[in-house]
Symmetry: C3
Subunit: 258 residues, 3 copies
């Protein structure tokens, strides 16, 4: 199978230490000509959940045959396994710590990457360079997924906070992320907004609108976010700051009748 790629990188390495560049050097060496795309190297160090959230947002936006190379790996050098996932025609390689969960949940098939092939070349502390990048390059050059290692059925897939549909237009969910703009991402799917009058978070009751411009600057609102879930925002401001609300906070959908 040829024509795979690009290889899309997500890490918590930053760029200044040179670790990210080392991984890129391995890729350029092993699969020259394959496009390398930076998703991010600025995941907060060791924050697997933040990395998974970002991956969850973008992995399907890349076309089939894309290889997502993901390394947020605080457990490097422990017994945690290196994984390869195939899901909806895309691939991912990364540690077995929940980072790849968005692609595994989507009925992805999972394998543990063998690291006993060339043990002398694998450092104990930098599997991004020594295991994951070579595995990604192997896939990019048409290598078979099954060659990388045996199927596993017990990969780490963290439970997610599940929203509760109480009744028509009435539901409870959670703030699952705060983005760079201070917008609050919830786990309430857009379909649940039917018949909803307002969204409550903390002491705030916010109108449901179509877009930011439907309220005045500085006013709060709720709308369908670009990922298909309810989002809470304050026009031209940071909702996290103005409303003093962070990750994990309860969010309630209030029906039109109330």
């Amino acid at each position: 199978v040829s024509g795979r790629g690009p290889i899309v990188l997500l890490t918590d390495f930053g760029t200044v230490d040179g670790y990210t560049a080392e991984m890129k050097g391995v890729l350029v060496t092993l699969c020259p000509g394959v496009a390398i795309v930076d998703a991010t190297h600025e995941v907060p160090r060791g924050d697997v959940a933040a990395g998974a959230r970002a991956l969850g947002r973008y992995w399907r936006r890349f076309p089939p045959r894309t290889i997502h190379l993901c390394v947020v790996d605080p457990g490097v050098g422990t017994a945690r396994r290196p994984l390869v996932v195939e899901s909806e025609g895309r691939f991912a390689v990364g540690p077995d710590n929940g980072l790849l969960a968005p692609m595994i949940r989507a009925s992805g098939s999972v394998r543990a990457i063998r690291t006993d092939i060339a043990p002398a070349q694998i450092s104990a502390t930098f599997h991004g360079r020594d295991v994951f990048a070579p595995a990604a390059a192997y896939l990019a050059t048409g290598g078979g997924v099954a060659d990388l290692g045996p199927a596993v059925s017990d990969a780490v897939v963290p439970e997610v906070a599940v929203p509760v549909l109480v009744g028509p237009g009435q539901a409870r969910g959670t703030v699952v992320a705060v983005d760079r703009f201070g917008n609050l991402q919830t786990n309430l799917p857009e379909g649940w907004l039917a018949g909803v009058y307002a969204v409550e978070v903390g002491p705030h009751r916010l109108p449901v609108v179509r877009t930011y411009g439907d309220v005045r600057p500085g006013e709060g609102l709720a709308l369908i976010g670009s990922n298909g879930y309810v989002e809470i925002a304050v026009r031209d401001r940071s909702a996290a700051q103005v409303l003093d609300v962070g990750e994990g906070r309860a969010v309630t959908l209030v029906p039109a009748a109330s």
Copy 2:
């Protein structure tokens, strides 16, 4: 028209939330093989003027047929129009808020991108992914600019602080930007330095030199900056800090006779 590209990205998205990666995924999907170049994703959020300054500095350094994809878009979801600009053989897409002003001022032709073509697919909050990236991809694959929408003549082009030439070697201008090194960029064109004895900013009178190395470390100076305008610097230090001068401050060219 084929062979367009690369697509050069400027946003205020950062990288960690995954928004930038979503845009790249759209581009890779719609125009595979077209080079994607990161200019920056670190424009301060919502700072349209800073984004425009960066674009103004680099857009002509890229060759004709380049597509500048620019998204600093605090007004997404309001009535502000999405624009496509063609200027000196380069293209730009981005919001109608002044971000593309450097290319519009250079006799660029401007069109408003139609968003009624596939409204069901366009979110209310992420036109970077749903409008601007597809428009850039359309251009990259040879699509005609005129197909994207009707010509407009009233695009937002902010007025810029205009320097005043008082007499030979005598002028007044403004600090228009402070860069990462603390150097002060002014709006005084290099040609006006003829016959100038010194440059004054705040209480400081600085010698006009050819290059940083012409003064001692820690000393202030003025010279022709790499963008063709007068720049104020302190050798091996931050002029902004040492001189306590920021954006908007008045700058005076003092003639040799004074």
Copy 3:
């Protein structure tokens, strides 16, 4: 000689001012189709030693014919020379201030790039754009190294802290860097760990282990880092913070018998 590349960028420019994008524009213009790879633009401004450390870590990971374009250049506009280096089949261009030292030490041949070819086009303050990027593009398009300028034998190559082997399993070295994860990089080569019982830094005595997972979370350790030198870490924490140790601190290898 064709087929050179990629061009790998290391700078202290950040991205937001547009300087990095200007360099990329020059490269895209002069050598279209040559891959551009970002190593980092986040070297602390003017920190030549940090830039050299990063380059030292990754330059060999890229294949022969790679061109490393490196610009941390506080001396731009002084008499410091622009250099081109050829080492182990890779190339580098950058200022003569120690930034390229890792490739020069590896028996690299060094030349001073002529800047008198097109002086009218070279700014006094931005050689990254006006000298180094064009030189890199010249190499990428198959240009001969010797054409760029005369060989020099007195390039700036800073002395490095040399570790001392006192006896079997006994040695003294230095913390040479702290990475983003707070891990302490030393200059003690891995081979010296034979017969070593513990590693001491400040008041701390740390066990020598194979990998992070060999101690409990929060405990200190020493191991062979991914660059082949002794590294000091604290599992799941920042060793720099927990041990209160920074760059330049003495590190001692303690023999098994002690």
